[in-house]
């Protein structure tokens, strides 16, 4: 009868620790991808479509494409991030938890901003246009206006106002128009 093999703690390491570490790595990888996707869908178009920055046609196409898909895309990716973060937090170190918290903030910020039109924070839209008779208007006679005459309606849009609002939806003489500047 042969002697039993000596006890070796290494050979007896329980398998679940290896598997747990591997799962954790995959979870972190998935989480990182989702967080990157969420942030990209907001930050890339925001970076490309900026005032005083040249936009090549291809870059503009990418920005519009991302911006178009961002409201739904960021929602799905952000949801995935929260689920993965919940799965990761229990076995994460203090630094790991801090990283999760920080990235979730960025993810949340991106998902919210993907739904907001911050251009209208800079140039507020004019609410349903109101009009004055000439006698009530304080526009200086030398000030430039854009005038339109349609179907009996005669309207003037001071350029100082349109240069701020940029676009105004109106109906003149029964014709829906977009006043733009």
């Amino acid at each position: 009868m042969s002697a039993p093999a000596p006890y070796s703690p290494r050979l007896q390491t329980p398998q679940p620790d290896h598997a747990r570490r591997r799962i954790s790595r995959w979870l972190w990888a998935a989480y990182s991808l989702c967080a990157l996707a969420t942030a990209s869908m907001f930050f890339i178009p925001a970076f490309i479509i900026r005032p005083f920055r040249y936009q090549a046609p291809r870059a503009l196409f990418v920005a519009m494409s991302l911006r178009q898909r961002a409201p739904l895309g960021t929602l799905i990716a952000a949801l995935a991030c929260f689920i993965l973060a919940f799965a990761l937090r229990k076995n994460s170190s203090r630094w790991g938890k801090a990283l999760l918290t920080f990235t979730l903030l960025v993810v949340t910020f991106s998902a919210v901003m993907a739904r907001l039109n911050y251009f209208e924070w800079m140039f507020h839209p004019a609410p349903g246009p109101q009009f004055l008779a000439q006698s009530e208007s304080k526009v200086d006679p030398k000030e430039m206006i854009m005038s339109v005459r349609l179907g009996g309606d005669d309207r003037a849009y001071p350029i100082s106002q349109m240069a701020y609002h940029h676009v105004l939806n109106d109906v003149v003489g029964g014709v829906p128009i977009a006043v733009t500047y």
Binding site: H124, K142, S147, H165, A178
Partner: protein, 230 residues
């Protein structure tokens, strides 16, 4: 200015971004992106569609008042009134440009009057136009008349043709009132392009849409544009 109806559907536009200092807008109904200066849909469900141009004038308020005594004026929005800058032009002129076209005789922020006739685009440098007004020109076979108003700011463009004949127009120097005379009928014409006396009285010249723009912006969207020289 553009109409807001495409295939019978009325769209509502909002500011969505900026593309090389020309703004982008989107419609709420489909989310399609539109270029403001061309009125064309450049991305989205309606990509390729084009809005119809609405004829408009750029005039001083004073000039418009005399022509449209019963017209209405857009009311300012009280909470944004501090943002409205009546002297916006010199302020905007100081802003940097992101696109330029070296090799042309115009500088990026030079103001031009731009127009297109059957696909042929031409830019009239404002300073040249202001000195020479009225300007007679021909683009793509169409005789044109560009006129600057007595206020030195309002402008219009007409087809220089009356009764089917090409015509030439001169500013009357012998009256305090702004008026043109044509060489074919010797009629007097007002700033609205209508004859107020002479054999052509009651007739009006056809109008041409024109845009007052910066050179870099006009050139960016009209790559084949020519420049008026005299």
């Amino acid at each position: 200015m553009w109409t807001r109806t495409i295939n019978g559907r009325v769209l509502h536009f909002y500011l969505a971004g900026i593309n090389n200092q020309n703004f982008l807008m989107r419609d709420k109904e489909t989310g399609t992106w539109w270029q403001q200066i061309t009125g064309k849909a450049i991305y989205g469900p309606l990509q390729g569609a084009a809005l119809d141009l609405v004829f408009c004038d750029e005039l001083t308020f004073g000039q418009w008042r005399t022509e449209s005594p019963s017209g209405q004026v857009l009311a300012p929005v009280a909470k944004y009134s501090k943002e409205y800058d009546p002297n916006w032009e010199p302020d905007v002129a100081k802003l940097p440009v992101v696109i330029s076209f070296p090799g042309t005789e115009l500088k990026s922020r030079d103001v031009v009057i731009g127009l297109t006739i059957n696909g042929a685009a031409r830019a009239y440098p404002w300073e040249t136009f202001a000195k020479q007004s009225p300007v007679l020109d021909r683009v793509n076979g169409t005789p044109l008349l560009l006129v600057l108003g007595s206020d030195g700011k309002s402008f219009r463009v007409f087809v220089a043709r009356s009764d089917g004949h090409d015509d030439e127009f001169f500013l009357r120097a012998d009256t305090p009132e702004w008026a043109l005379l044509d060489t074919v009928t010797a009629s007097q014409w007002n700033f609205q392009g209508c004859a107020t006396s002479g054999s052509a009285q009651g007739k009006c010249l056809a109008r041409i849409p024109a845009l007052k723009d910066y050179w870099f912006d006009w050139r960016n969207y009209h790559s084949d544009t020519t420049i008026y020289k005299h």
